[in-house]
Amino acid sequence: MAIFSKKRGSRPRRIILKSVYEENLRILGKNPLGPRWKFPYLFKGYFFLSFIVLLVLGNVDYLDSRLFSENKKEIHISTQGENFVPAEYISLINDKKISMKQMFGLGVKTIVIDPGHGGSDPGTSGKLGLKEKDITLDIARRLKKKLLAYGQYKVLLTREDDETVPLNRRTEIAARSKADVFISIHVNYVPSKPINIIETYYFGPSADGDTLELASAENAHSNYSLGEFKEMIEKIGDTLKLQESRRLASFIQDSLYLNIKGQNSSVLDYGIKRAPFVVLLGIDMPGVLTEVSCISNKKEELKLYTTRYREDIAQYLESGILNYLKKGEPVYEASR
């Protein structure tokens, strides 16, 4: 074993000790010694003052007090004139490595869980007769219970029972509850191959034929009018939603795949992908559609019959959501 001998008082060790101390101060909600960004106070003050002025004058297209507002596109901040904001701050705001949620400490309060299909729309069915609508509802209920146990989140389901709920009604529920995060739970079906795959989608264009076919199947029963759909299309350029959705998808996929792989080494990671799911387009908050299992695989269907496995899946979703809520990590995108 390679041992790196360092003197007790060496600089890296001192830095590590200080970091442990500062981390513990943060746990207690206290400010660590010294600012993390070493900008002069005057400069920082100027930035925040400019930011407030810009908000008031309407030079910022969106970013209201709630996490995600109704009319938001990309952030445009003036780089010229009297309300100019230094370029480094613009790059800070648009930094893809740090999410807006992290940067501005935006909180999450309401989580909407969408159990896919229901009622007259059973979704897919396995060879033994298990229906997608029943699995998604069961997992969603379990996930809700787990998240409520933290006492920090309001958690809503788009359907509480085996009922038909069109996609536009689901997005309405999310909008009305001022949801901050939206998770749609589905189960995959790949009849051509005896495989088990896990994949998670966020809204975006896709050129992949299989993905488009899946989106078309999931978009049935949307009930949107053409006018409503046009309105939604205008929101496509929403950078914040896209960035956060991608991040959320990454955390959920990572948690589901790595944990399920522990139980079944043959499960395949199809990664996170963009797809034009209407239910994800219609919402104004970060949202993902996750295919948590593959019911066309008979072994997987047998496992889905067990309470234990559905509880496990709910737990892995919980872990992915909580990981997203508490930190940021680089994301990866797999191709089919």
Binding site: M1, A2, I3, F4, S5, K6, R8, P12, R13, I15, I16, L17, K18, S19, V20, Y21, E23, N24, L25, I27, L28, K30, A149, Y150, Q152, L258, N259, K261, G262, Q263, S265, Q315, Y316, S319, L322, N323, K326, K327, G328, E329, P330
Partner: protein, 342 residues
Amino acid sequence: MKPADEAENNILYVGIDLGTSRSSISASNNTKECVESYVGWPRDFISARVLGKDILFGSEALGNRLSLDVYRPLERGVIKEGIERNEEAVKELIGHLISLARPPKGQKINAIVGVPADTLKVNKLSIRKAVLGYVHSLMVVSEPFAVAYGLELLNNSMIIDIGAGTVDFCIMHGAMPAEEDQKTILTAGDYIDEQLFSYLSEKYPGSKFTLNMVRQFKEKSSFVGNAGHAIQVELPVEGKLVTHDITNEIKRACESILPAIIDTTASMIARFDPEFQVKIKNNIVVAGGGSRTKGIAEYLHGSFKELFGDCRVSCVEDPLFAGSDGSLKLAMDMPKKYWEQL
């Protein structure tokens, strides 16, 4: 191991590894103790009289479980939610661990507690709440980081801490590991127990055994790769003890957690520059109870070698105390001014 201010201020430093299955304490007065993370209260007046104690811990609690309400209060390395008694059990367990370090009455104690890498702030706060009643000042650190610190693996190394509730990963690169340098997955020792239980139930439906018995089989005979010899246990069938061969079941169960460990390790290392990847992959250390699994270092080495070429994988020498020793070392190195603020 005696910092200057210990003598001056008569402070006892302790490092605690609060584990789902076992918890250990290492103290600056050279005591080291380990206890299974079970807490039991007598069920009624009669059990209290028979046992002669108000509360029992570890193997003693497990051995008398029929007369006790037994709690294993940690789940995946954090306090189980929903049952108030679990919080009380954690408090009692910590009090018991500290008493095992034999501090004189009124002794000032500064403690560092190791928790799983991905523990949420709210869980860290509940662990703080449980410990604070017994100590003067307290810090919480991630368990694999404590192990790395104790082994002086401060730079270009990776710790894989395989516990009962979680497998924790931590990459050290000369600074305090950031959140993205640490990861926790939940398929760990307890998952192996459940798998083994289900394999044995399937293979020997007529036999009677408990999860606790299965855990003991695993702890005695766990291996991955080649067992080298047949593993046999005696299980009761219709009241008679019958010898069963469980070699394949132990192998399947122990190896069931490895794919996720291998994938996570590879994905964490892959995020670094190639130059650092080489250094890190040559310094992978397996810790925690899982490091006692026979053949684990060789198995992981073989899998990593296939994925990213030559590498070095080793296991810690003392998995029971690697975490608490690391926390103790950290506690003793920590400047006094920092302790005063916490």
